[in-house]
Point group: none
Chain length 211, copies 4
Amino acid sequence: MQNEGPEAKIPKQKRSEKTRQKIIDAGLRLFSEHGYHATSSKKIAREAGVAIGSFYNYFTDKKQLLFELHRIHSERVHGMIARSIEESNILDPRTDSRSLIQAIVEQTWSLHDFSPALQREITALAYTNDEFAQMQRAEQGRDMAVLTEIFRKRKNTLRVNDLEAAGILIGQTMEAVMHSLWIFGSAIDHKRMLDALADMLHRYLFKDTKK
Amino acid sequence: MQNEGPEAKIPKQKRSEKTRQKIIDAGLRLFSEHGYHATSSKKIAREAGVAIGSFYNYFTDKKQLLFELHRIHSERVHGMIARSIEESNILDPRTDSRSLIQAIVEQTWSLHDFSPALQREITALAYTNDEFAQMQRAEQGRDMAVLTEIFRKRKNTLRVNDLEAAGILIGQTMEAVMHSLWIFGSAIDHKRMLDALADMLHRYLFKDTKK
Amino acid sequence: MQNEGPEAKIPKQKRSEKTRQKIIDAGLRLFSEHGYHATSSKKIAREAGVAIGSFYNYFTDKKQLLFELHRIHSERVHGMIARSIEESNILDPRTDSRSLIQAIVEQTWSLHDFSPALQREITALAYTNDEFAQMQRAEQGRDMAVLTEIFRKRKNTLRVNDLEAAGILIGQTMEAVMHSLWIFGSAIDHKRMLDALADMLHRYLFKDTKK
Amino acid sequence: MQNEGPEAKIPKQKRSEKTRQKIIDAGLRLFSEHGYHATSSKKIAREAGVAIGSFYNYFTDKKQLLFELHRIHSERVHGMIARSIEESNILDPRTDSRSLIQAIVEQTWSLHDFSPALQREITALAYTNDEFAQMQRAEQGRDMAVLTEIFRKRKNTLRVNDLEAAGILIGQTMEAVMHSLWIFGSAIDHKRMLDALADMLHRYLFKDTKK
DNA sequence: TATGAATGAGCATTCATTCAT
DNA sequence: GATGAATGAATGCTCATTCAT
């Protein structure tokens, strides 16, 4: 019984993987703090504690690092979404609609730990760079699909006619509020903003059951 | 007394003022199309048809030009808002709440003619630059104040408790949707998105009269 | 009587032209001495006594400077060829064929003052770079045409059948010997080599008159 | 006594020797195709299918590989020259002078299979590098000695006075034409050029025996 | 011996900005 | 005011070479 397993196949990559990780961490730190344009590849290498040559051993250029950071984050967030939804009462049909919305908002909020500064940089780049725009678009589509699926199950209690427009609208609104909370969050308490957001979405989407 | 006509009416519109204007126009064009970072001061001067030295005669640096562009735009938009509100039925107390919201949304939309690309650049800069952040903040506050004033007059039909949070929320939502429409507007018809937005805001803010 | 002449039209280019010239001189010096690849743009700027930025104000890149050096030289040589031929007895029909060849060889030699090192660099680059190859080719064609024209006038005393092949052959031979004289010239006296060359060409081209 | 066949005959042809050979082959391929400067040591290693470390196990640096390639080629050519001359009718005293020259030219041509691109690279390097210059010089001397020896045997039919200059001249001419045929060979047929060359050399060297 | 991750000096090039004319 | 030549710090990136495994 060979218990040497898969690890044996990647012996020398141990150090390599560490270097790569150090660069990624440094990139995340610096891009977030100072922005993409104000961060030189040399600074990243220095922050990572590696030689500039090592940077280019792992990434073809600076842009690719930003790309990679974004990809990693998207991946991570998406993995968490599935788990989050299952662990919450979102899928439970007994959950009333207000609590459903509240849960979605809060789950989303808890996932929004990715540097909003970096998010902005990516958004800005998406503007002048097609590759980034496409990635951004694809991601948003994926997120929206999850929401749509949830709402479809409560179709008969929904109030909106134009579901497509509603999907886009909700997606944009959530993103904008989350971003803003991260950035200007100090101006007002999180709780209040999230409550207001949940209120708005709920009243928009669902019929006034009783009340 | 020289009655030389039109020239006499704009004595200050010297060559000097014209040069400045040419630079501003060129800056708006290039920043919008290629972004702040991809636009060099030399290119701006060339596009404006003036010498690079002239650029620095009128602006201390590239950032200041962006600043100025933003200021000019804010100013212009604000002037239009006042007129727009007066010319619309927004202030008319007989206007029903749904029409009120619809009017606000449409007026806002009609004002959003400023390059969204540039808007993004400014937003991104606001992130790493305090001056820009403050200007951005101040402007949003000003816009919010206008909305708040309008809603205050219909206080008894309002449904929201936390007016402060609601103000911020609405501001952010409107901005996000407007931006997005400009950028990704082609995906879905303007009208549908604006309708959905008006629906959402209306249901959030006002009690269901009749039903 | 306006004696301000053409100079008045290029007042500010005075300094500019000087800088450009300094860069060209420095480039010629360094490329010749150390070769193209061993000469960095920074070194050229330093040798020229200008800032590196100035280098790029005048040349889009290092390659373009080499190109320019080559162009300048070709131009110069070509201008001299016409004058040289006229001033010599080459066109005089009374000149006997041996003296004719001798004159051509000597005129060519006197024109070959361009750094052979640089010539080599260009030749080498022509090998991996299409632009250079074309320029090189064009130039050789031009030079050959001059020779052909001269020989055509003494057609009946010529001994060669395949004039086309002869043209190419002579061009290559002359170039090779001239280059070599510059480079390894110290091994043997110029005069002896040029005599040998003239002998070879003469015996190849013309019938043994008398004998 | 292990009769294991071919392997036994080349016991030193270990893995080690094979690695070295792979690098040499890759170097020849890449230097020829893209030139010395455009070929990095990493690319050579990759082309050879070995690690970059192995490259430096066998060669102190990139230059040394080029050196080695040149040495190998010179060696090979020289071995062939001896055989070629013997197998031809060059040494046969009954061969008439025109046929002699023709044979020499054709033999030389058949040996010129070494990448002219690489030849140029070496020539260029010889210019800025003393080691290369010396090797180049030595080689030319060796080749010239062979020619001189052949001609000495027909001294009384020779027409040239300055044998030393003639030797250099012929060497250069042959080299130039051969190179050029390889490079620009397509412009004109090989045969015509080689004939023209043989004509020129023959008329230069030998008395017009009858005819 | 073979490997390939790590190194960092060095390079080509850009661009915001100054200042003499 | 207007001009544009001149500047040089800074940037993104390459590549020959080393060395621990």
